[in-house]
């Protein structure tokens, strides 16, 4: 009998434990440690929409923040996890997005987070801190419509809105292997068709020279496809357009065009890519590879054209390669007008940083956030975006108070696998770069710690003097003596600056979101099929089918909203430009 009772009790316990497993929620105690008591180590769950790394922050940046705040960052990156918004939605539905939250605010997301109590008002924690004075207007802009400080701004700049937000390199641009371009005799490129002809010759030359068959002019990947195929959007940006939903909007607001319009530059680019594929200029791996595989090809210099400086130059133009005269540089296309994101005097309100409502020690997190806006914070946190890193390790001041890169800095920057000294945290420099990928302050801003030079070390006089490699000199000679790409573009009026406004797209009706999601896939899938079509007839067929399906699913309903948003954005940009004057 005893034994039976034991069994009964056991089954009872089993049932009870099953039930109690659900619903029990551990609410973190509110242990504010005002005054900076950092004796207990704090591990922060960081939800980061922009991170391209998932897991614990390691290396030198981890050491810096561990020493300063005794915190560790556990980064949760939807970019790595994949699956679109799934991670965001499941985490928010569970009521805990993270302790530290770096989030895209478009489509009314920030409002949602505030309204559902997932982020806290940090006014009390920031009281008396310098950042409140320095960036008052930007903080107000980030929290417009809300009482309190829920979000801290992104990419605040002291430049007026009409100045480009980029410092030495544009965001988009036709970058090619300059050494081959030189060997071809610096041919003039009139337009995109001309670019294709030039690339065909370049591919032939490169293959002959290297004796390899796997060198291609172009390579694509699918990871970043959204409203449209990401790769096909890039050339549009070289002609002053940027996407807003299904609309391509020109930098000065002079034109808003549907991507499926017969005259749309997007469809033109698809045709161009189709043409390229027909001529054998497109890497056949394109259809299956991801960004990592593609970028490794750029590190080897095997893909000749790249629409971004940061995927080509940053990977391939290492000290060794440049010394051999190899490297990616921008070439001028006569009719281009590259889209440039203007500086944001009020911060870029499309992104924000916030503190989660379940955070254990909000005071310390607020201290950490404040630090990110200080010179030291910018130098360290934004190294991955182009600042110099911790003072004393990668750079220092000379006798005249001007910044220069140390020997270590020259080896390690921009992000090379160089061993970091143990007292700075050890490990490889590259792995230690901050994974947050969030620029609190624009890199074109002056760094008070560096005697007022810009945060972006590639603008320093000492750097430009050192950077005089044969490759750079050759490039400069053929580019009217320009020292940097941006200098050339500005001089030749090839830059279309969209003033940095405080515009974010408003929340969307979920009916439209659902339609949009289906239309997006239709357009992305159709675009890929078009590029790899086997004949002109097939190309036209896919195009017709794509447009018909997209319209049938409700493309026009989405377009109406996007057009309105584009108009509002243009208005906001004009306003921002006026404000700067």
């Amino acid at each position: 009998m005893k034994r039976r009772l034991g069994c009964l009790a056991l089954s009872g316990i089993m049932a009870a434990s099953l039930l109690s497993g659900c619903g029990a929620e551990s609410k973190a105690a509110d242990v504010a440690s005002a005054g900076g008591d950092y004796s207990k180590e704090l591990i922060l769950d960081v939800y980061d929409d922009f991170a391209n790394y998932n897991g614990e922050q390691t290396g030198w940046f981890a050491k810096v923040i561990k020493d300063k705040f005794n915190i560790k960052l556990n980064i949760i990156a939807p970019n790595v996890a994949g699956g679109g918004d799934t991670l965001y939605q499941t985490r928010t539905a569970a009521g805990d997005l993270g302790d530290l939250i770096l989030v895209g605010t478009t489509n009314g997301r920030l409002d949602d987070l505030i309204d559902s109590g997932l982020v806290i008002d940090m006014s009390d924690y920031l009281k008396g801190k310098e950042v409140l004075d320095t960036y008052k207007d930007a903080i107000d802009a980030a929290n417009e419509g809300h009482d309190g400080i829920y979000a801290m701004p992104y990419s605040v700049s002291t430049d007026p809105a009409t100045e480009p937000g980029e410092s030495t390199e544009p965001t988009f641009g036709p970058y090619v292997r300059w050494d081959y371009y030189a060997e071809l005799g610096y041919p003039e490129v009139k337009d995109l068709d001309g670019l294709l002809d030039m690339l065909e010759k370049m591919q032939k030359l490169a293959r002959e020279k290297e004796g390899k068959d796997d060198i291609y002019a172009m390579s694509f990947f699918k990871d970043w496809d959204g409203n449209m195929m990401n790769n096909a959007k890039q050339p549009c940006c070289m002609y002053g357009y940027d996407e807003l939903g299904f609309v391509l909007s020109k930098f000065d607001g002079s034109e808003d065009i549907s991507i499926l319009d017969e005259k749309s530059p997007y469809l033109d680019v698809l045709r161009l890519f189709y043409e390229a594929n027909k001529r054998g200029l497109v890497d056949p791996d394109s259809t299956t590879q991801n960004f990592d595989i593609m970028s490794s090809k750029y590190s080897e210099g095997k893909i000749l054209f790249c629409p971004w400086p940061w995927a080509s130059k940053s990977y391939f133009n290492t000290v060794d390669n440049v010394a051999e005269g190899k490297g990616y540089e921008m070439i001028p296309i006569k009719d281009m007008k590259i889209f440039s994101y203007g500086a944001h005097p009020l911060g870029d309100t499309n992104r924000a940083i916030a503190i989660g409502s379940q955070a254990e020690d909000p005071q310390r997190i607020a201290d950490f956030i404040e630090w990110l806006y200080t010179p030291e914070g910018v130098e360290c946190n934004e190294q991955g975006n182009g600042s110099a890193g911790p003072k004393g390790l990668t750079w220092d001041l000379d006798d005249e108070g001007k910044p220069y890169l140390t020997e270590f800095g020259k080896k390690a920057l921009p992000s090379n696998s160089v061993d970091v000294p143990d007292e700075w945290g050890g490990g490889s420099w590259k792995d230690g770069v901050s994974a947050l990928n969030f620029q609190c302050v624009n890199l074109s801003d002056p760094d008070a710690d560096a005697g007022g030079a810009k945060y972006d070390y590639t603008t320093w006089d000492s750097y430009l003097a050192d950077a005089e490699t044969p490759l750079q000199r050759d490039w400069s000679e053929h580019m009217d003596g320009a020292r940097t790409t941006m200098e050339y573009l500005k001089k030749n009026d090839m830059l279309g600056v969209a003033p940095g406004s405080a515009y974010t797209t408003p929340a969307e009706d979920s009916n439209i979101s659902t339609i949009r999601a289906q239309v997006k896939t239709t357009i992305v899938d159709g675009s890929w099929k078009m590029i790899f079509a086997k004949s002109d007839a097939e190309f036209e067929n896919y195009k017709k089918e794509m447009i018909k399906t997209a319209k049938g699913l409700g493309f026009d309903d989405c377009l109406k909203i996007d057009m309105q948003n584009a108009k509002d954005q243009t208005e906001a940009r004009k306003e921002a430009a006026e404000l700067g004057k």
Binding site: R4, C7, L8, S11, M14, A15, L18, L19, C22, G83, G84, D85, T86, Y88, Q89, T90, T92, A93, G95, L97, D112, L113, D115, S116, L118, K222, P284, D285, T287, T288, S510, N511, S513, T514, R516, A517, Q518, K520, T521, V524, D525, S527, W528, K529, F532, K548, T549, K551, G552, L553, G554
Partner: protein, 302 residues
């Protein structure tokens, strides 16, 4: 209370934990169906979301393109399920032939070797497929170096023979595993039947034809009925890992469609509405199947 009742109550307590489990994992989640009637947008709680009634159900059939997409998806689902059911006879024959192998070591080897793929997740299967069949993969590499091919063949990123490819992959993965249940059934067949057949002069194939197969039929039909009730649930992980822009038209089965528009397209409500419809159809199919079985074989499973 009589002793009988007390014993009955005790027996009831014995199964209680399992009833709780069934309730928790099979019935409790059904309360989530309520999301289908709301315009649910996380992070807002349901109480702050709008009640929209049957809006999402109507949306599925709201316009021609929507309907034609759904029809294509159903075609894919039916095609793959039918192919799956048609090939479900193969494990049975595999088991019979395997059983005829007299060398025990070889038999165990074959059985282990064919069962193993079942334990490899689809993600890993895809990475194997990628390594072998992508444009830079082994097969293309070898064929091109031998001079047989000039251009790599696009095995993965083309829409030709999508159904067939998918069926072959799932057969490769499931053949050995599916035969286990038949092997155990064969072991349970009365040996006297075989002895009697031998005395009557039956050969090997005749024994298979007149004893083994008929004896395995009940098992086969139970498996078949379960497969039919799962007609619409033909899994999504396989299709999810193999899908791309080129083969989506034919690879998108119902579960994958729900995932694609519900999860990545952030419409939980619509996805819930579709899966509700799916459950209803599944129950209907099972009932029909059961009725047919009752009429034809005089046996039911529920």
């Amino acid at each position: 209370m009589s002793t009988k009742k007390v014993t009955g109550f005790k027996y009831f307590l014995w199964i209680l934990p399992f009833m709780v489990l069934v309730f928790l994992f099979s019935y409790f989640p059904l309360h989530g169906w309520i999301y289908a009637f709301y315009d649910y947008k996380p992070p807002r709680p349901l109480s702050k979301c709008e009640f929209v009634g049957l809006h999402w159900f109507e949306m599925l059939f709201s316009n021609e393109t929507q309907v034609s997409q759904l029809i294509q998806v159903m075609k894919n689902t039916f095609a793959m399920s039918i192919l799956g059911i048609a090939t479900s006879i193969l494990p049975l024959f595999f088991a019979i032939f395997l059983n005829e192998i007299k060398n025990k070591k070889f038999r165990t080897f074959v059985q282990t070797f064919t069962t193993l793929p079942n334990f490899i997740s689809w993600v890993l299967v895809f990475s194997v497929a990628f390594a072998l069949f992508s444009s830079g993969g082994m097969v293309n590499y070898v064929l091109m170096n031998l001079g047989i091919l000039k251009e790599p063949v696009k095995f993965l990123d083309s829409d030709s023979y999508t159904y067939l490819k998918m069926v072959l992959w799932s057969m490769w993965k499931g053949l050995g595993w599916g035969s286990i249940i038949y092997l155990s059934s064969i072991a349970g067949i009365d040996q006297e039947l075989y002895e009697a057949a031998s005395i009557d002069g039956a050969g090997r194939f005749q024994k298979m034809r007149y004893i083994t197969i008929p004896e395995l039929m009940p098992t086969f039909f139970v498996m078949l009925m379960m497969a039919v009730s799962n007609f619409l649930n033909n899994g999504m992980d396989q299709y999810y890992v193999f899908q791309n822009s080129f083969n989506k038209e034919h690879i998108q089965v119902l579960d994958l469609y729900v995932y694609n528009i519900g999860m990545t397209g952030s419409s939980y409500s619509l996805a819930t509405a579709i899966s509700m419809l799916k459950s209803v159809i599944s129950v209907a199919l099972l009932t029909v199947c059961n009725l047919v079985s009752k009429g034809v074989r005089g046996e039911t499973i529920i």
